[in-house]
Symmetry: C2
Subunit: 733 residues, 2 copies
């Protein structure tokens, strides 16, 4: 098979991304890390973060080895699985792990440098923090696209000349996502538990009981808290979006191969198009990254404006570029498909804006949460939960409209719902997901910027830098809170769209496995007693063979179990944070009690013990929910078959998506309501309103930083596991 020369833009783009990431890293490293004390504090955080990451990877490696062996057994002994899966699983996990490692390494080197730069000017601080965040963004898209390009070339060579090779290749590549998903789940859950155990523990004793400010060096959990920002928000977020990025491109490619199955040339174009859009997106992200700068007396609004300018420039450019790419490729219905891309892009923007509306103190909802503190912490909690629940409306409707539009644009507004029109429509949904994630290079940069600025603020506070410097780092930090909130909305939205694309691909994966089984002599009988021929089966034949309709009790039960899975998973991760925070509170109280002179600033607290507690808790607590996420789809597949799995996936996705938005936005609103009070509203710091708001913020911590974001991965991982297990499910039919 001749890979068209235009394809080579994809690996080229990925290499460029990595080179630019290295360049940004190097220029950051050339900056001065500040005073002796600043280096020391940054060193503590860096050492803690790296030590945790090493331990997390050790645990993850063991789990990866076990799962790979199971996959190898299934592939080579039972022959119920694609032979590439064990390798693909490992590369996916490895690349995802590398993203976390590079991103976090950069972030932990950047924080003190950002604080130091802020001693000179706001613009310099912003630039260092943002470009260090861009390292993460570029590493993710670079490694992701490289992995995809590499395997595409290898598999093309391997399956060259086989019938319908592109379907085989793309469905094989789809299984690569599972390694990335699994690694991402451990990173999100482990990182989430780590960071929130430290944060909640530090706040409960430090702020509430002892009345000392945040990031105060007298608080024994302070370093652990700063380490947590890195392992949770940087490494966890990176692994999450690495997975969405690869998942969306791979599922769009698989859906493209399916939709144009009768025409090889068109099929190839449909497979390559999403990769090309992503590749071009890298260059456009780079342009956006260079656009971001600010002046020194910049207000919060200016700062936000400069970041938004960067992302908007990239978004507009990619919209234009999509038209060009699809036109030049001469993809069938290129205008419609371009609108599919744009509907995904726009959905990302709208969800981000809605998140900002519900969680920023500039708007009504968060102001109301702050006001509810006047009648105590209970009403703060009630109001925050209410706000979070109501905030699910815009994102769900946005995703629904985007799904409908991208579906209809891609199949020429064909509502006849025959197999062909559905297949083309589903490809549109896949392409929309790629559109949303095409500028990930810069959107992830704004995201990773948040914890870097936060740590810079922490560093400035702990090292007692001057008032004006802290004012600058505070501005940078406040900006980071906003970008972190919108980034969370974006991560959830892209996870939902990616998961939907994966859901659509699942049925194709089942078909491929049935064809293989049929070639080996297995005979499938439908419910009327006729022999079912998977090879010639269209999408709707598959649907009807498996009775994937809403009157099938297996589908109904699957949907219920999916909804339940999202709740159980969140319940377990919330509980994990509660337990870990409890140990942390006891340790911090013990240190204040037993180590005399901490509060007077004479004695140094034992930071290491707190880091140890967070580490241990995270490693212990990440196992159960992660294994559950893998086990549930396998069990449902064994007991309820294909129709049950499809029910499970859509049930888990719809409930998980809504629950994730609820939790993230409620958490964000509580956080900023507290900040609003700390800025002097409703009595300011130390007032009874402030105490009530701190309770809200503390509850919101695991909402927005542990359970909420982990749900993104749950919904993707459940789809991925089902896709990888398709062979086993078929063997049990």
């Amino acid at each position: 098979m001749n890979i068209p020369s235009v394809f080579w833009i994809v690996p080229f783009a990925s290499v460029c991304a990595l080179i630019m990431a290295f360049y940004f890293y190097k220029s950051m490293m050339r900056e001065d890390e500040g005073t002796e004390r600043m280096r020391e504090v940054a060193g503590y955080v860096r050492t803690g973060a790296m030590a945790y990451l090493r331990q997390q990877y050790k645990v993850v490696i063991i789990i990866f080895v076990v799962i790979s062996l199971i996959f190898a057994f299934m592939s080579y002994v039972l022959h119920v699985q694609n032979p590439w899966v064990p390798f693909a699983f490992i590369t996916g996990g490895l690349f995802s792990g590398l993203c976390g490692f590079f991103g976090m390494k950069t972030a932990t080197y950047a924080s003190a440098r950002t604080a130091n730069a802020a001693r000179h000017s706001l613009n310099k601080g912003l630039k260092i923090a943002f470009r260090s965040g861009a390292v993460m963004g570029l590493v993710v898209v670079g490694l992701g696209l490289m992995d995809i390009a590499l395997w595409f070339v290898i598999l093309n060579a391997f399956y060259d000349g086989e019938a319908n090779a592109l379907v085989t290749i793309t469905t094989t590549m789809l299984t690569f996502g599972m390694g990335a998903s699994t690694q991402a789940l451990f990173a999100r859950v482990g990182g989430g538990v780590y960071t929130k155990a430290a944060d909640v523990g530090a706040d409960l004793v430090g702020k509430v009981e002892e009345n000392i400010p945040e990031d105060d060096p007298r608080n024994p959990a302070t370093i652990a808290d700063n380490v947590g920002d890195n392992v949770g928000d940087v490494a966890g977020m990176g692994a999450d979006l690495y997975e969405s990025y690869c998942g969306s491109i791979l599922s769009a490619a698989a859906l493209g191969a399916m939709a144009f199955g009768v025409n090889y040339e068109m099929q190839l174009k449909a497979v390559i198009a999403p990769m090309l859009i992503a590749g071009v997106g890298i260059f456009l992200s780079l342009i956006g990254i260079f656009v971001v700068k600010t002046k020194d007396n910049a207000t919060m609004k200016d700062l936000l404006h400069s970041l938004n300018l960067g992302t908007n420039v990239s978004a507009v450019l990619i919209a234009v570029a999509s038209f060009l790419i699809l036109y030049l490729l001469k993809v069938e219905n290129w205008i419609g498909l371009s609108f599919s891309v744009i509907s995904g892009l726009l959905a990302g923007v709208i969800i981000g804006a809605a998140t900002e509306f519900y969680t920023s103190q500039s708007y009504g909802p968060t102001k109301d949460v702050a006001k509810s503190s006047e009648t105590g912490s209970a009403t703060v909690i009630i109001k925050g939960i209410s706000t979070g629940m109501i905030s699910t409306m815009i994102p769900v409707i946005t995703i629904s409209v985007a799904v409908m539009l991208s579906y209809l644009c891609a199949n020429g507004f064909d509502m006849s719902m025959n197999s062909e029109s559905i297949s083309k429509g589903l490809y549109g949904i896949g392409v929309a997901a790629v559109g949303m994630l095409s500028t990930l290079g810069i959107t992830l940069a704004t995201d990773a910027y948040g914890p870097i600025a936060d740590n810079a603020g922490g560093n400035a506070e702990m090292c007692g830098l001057g008032e004006d410097v802290r004012k600058r780092t505070d501005s940078l930090d406040a900006l980071g809170n906003t970008t972190a909130a919108t980034g969370k909305g974006f991560a959830i939205g892209s996870a939902a769209l990616t998961a939907l694309a994966l859901l659509a691909s699942y049925i194709e994966e089942i078909k491929i496995n049935m064809v293989r089984a049929a070639n080996e002599g297995v005979v499938f009988i439908d419910n009327l007693g006729n022999v079912f021929e998977p090879k010639n089966a269209q999408l709707l034949d598959m649907i009807s063979f498996f009775q994937v309709n809403l009157m099938n009790p297996k589908v109904l039960i699957g949907i219920f179990i999916g909804a339940m899975s999202a709740f159980i998973f969140s319940g377990i991760t919330m509980g994990a944070v509660g337990r870990a925070a409890g140990s942390m509170v006891e340790e911090v109280r013990r240190q204040f009690r037993e180590i005399k002179g901490i509060l007077e600033g004479i004695a140094t607290p034992d930071y290491g013990r707190c880091i140890q507690i967070s580490t241990k808790s995270a490693l212990r607590e990440m196992i159960l929910p992660s294994l559950l996420a893998i086990a549930i789809p396998v069990l449902v597949g064994i007991v309820l078959g294909v129709s049950g799995v499809l029910g499970l996936l859509i049930g888990g996705m719809s409930t998980g998506f809504t629950l994730a938005i609820f939790m993230s936005n409620a958490g964000g609103a509580w956080d900023n309501a507290k900040k609003m009070i700390e800025e002097g509203n409703f009595g300011g710091k130390g007032s009874s309103c402030h105490k009530a708001a701190v309770v809200g913020d503390t509850v919101g911590d695991p909402f927005k930083d542990t359970s909420g974001p982990s749900l993104n991965i749950l919904i993707k991982l459940m789809s991925m596991v089902s896709i990888v297990m398709a062979g086993l499910t078929v063997a049990l039919i």
Copy 2:
């Protein structure tokens, strides 16, 4: 058509239920209401409750008139709706309203009498409270079954001799549920907001700020709080279960008519069987009610045992009776169907037990919530939310297994999934719902007992009765908390099963409307361009005509919007309680500030103002969520058609069910964790742990008494609205 003579058991049973309800009411009224002060306090509560109910009914009547006019327009001008709907809508609402009225009237007369009886002996107190609760239970089943029997006879006479009359009759009767649903939603939401505004307001100022005990007459919101128990827990719960009861019987009948469409005699039996089971259930409930008694030095365990004995006796008897009824009726596959009934019954028992496990202070989960108060209110909230989320597992799995078992038992373990086997299986699910609700007479009695005992305790506290009397009323109250929690679990479980049965009936309602339209000359074209003949269409033909499969984006979007609806609805009702409680807090603070001498017990607080605030808030806040619940399925039907509506219903049901369990159980666990601390654990009353637990309890109030239970009705009402609107949906195809 000859209605078989055995049918007359049904109206006879309903009359017996009403006579016994009247008898229990009269014998309660003969009891002494106690001292002058006790009568006075009970009078306040009674007047407040009745005044609220009158005002609520006034608002509801206006809404009913408007909706009836719309229905009349649709029936007689547009001809897109069954001509019986406007009348049926009104009778459903009227009967449901009557249940609330009678139940609440009895409850408000019974509280002081229970307190007075407790001055003599525990057994006497239990008997009065429980039998007054039984009035509610019997009125609900009596009126429900009477409504059904009446319309069955009328419609039989009307459609006598028509082809497939039973399908027409049962699908027409199904639309009656909408009146009951609508009335129930207003009762649940209005009552829920009323009671929790008062409760939260009373607690936040009384307990937290002024440190006075619960039900203290010095607290201006005390009377409103006691009124709230009646309007929320008695009238609201009654309307909720009236709706489930009628809905389950009617949908089982409709599914029966569908499943045996080829054999008129069998069809008639299948239609009558659920009514008979419910009718016989009334007699068996009465037996159970007479079994409940206790000795005077009874422990909490003894009390619980005596109530459980009553419900268990009824449950075992109905299991045996189901075999007999189905055997004597000679229904096809009577053994299998009996097991379907039993699987529903058992599911109810298991969900009740799971609810008790997660919310009772005798078990680990609630103990852990209490323990988490040691690290402050934030960890109490985190732990409670985690516990509530994890507690969704057993109920969801139980309902899933019950659905599968009842489906398979009813169709002879036929997994071939052809139209016939599915129809028969769905009838099994309908029958399982009837099984779960067949002993409602007694289960609702144990439920309504709760608020009566609660009010009796309040009366005893406010009238300063002796220590030993209050100890007795406290025992009765504690028992009531347990039965209220299990009752909530039961209400949710039955709502889910009923909603599933309604979902299955929806497609039949669509078919009936299509047949009518086809008779009037409308031609339906399927996606292959062929003419679709609804008259001869089987279930699977309908499914395939409307493309109700999980690759249809309309279905997918419907599921997402369904999940969102449950969250939005809860968010709005939570917000309503937050707002109403805020006004109440301000009023109570104002009275303490402005009316001198309240706290010293010299001046009387202005109870009336607080009642007014609760009333106004409830009436204002119940409108939006209720209209939303009606509007969403109508809009989805118009925009996305049949497949979108089915997606919406199953999405709303799965998420709503899980969310409702989460909210109810989290609320229950917080409530009992607080009680556990008040009994002297973790520092007891007034300790910092207690303060933290009170925050949990206050947050839990709207969780368990407003938003959670309202979700039951949301999921049923959305199905009902869709069923009633089926004609409009078909007209728009």
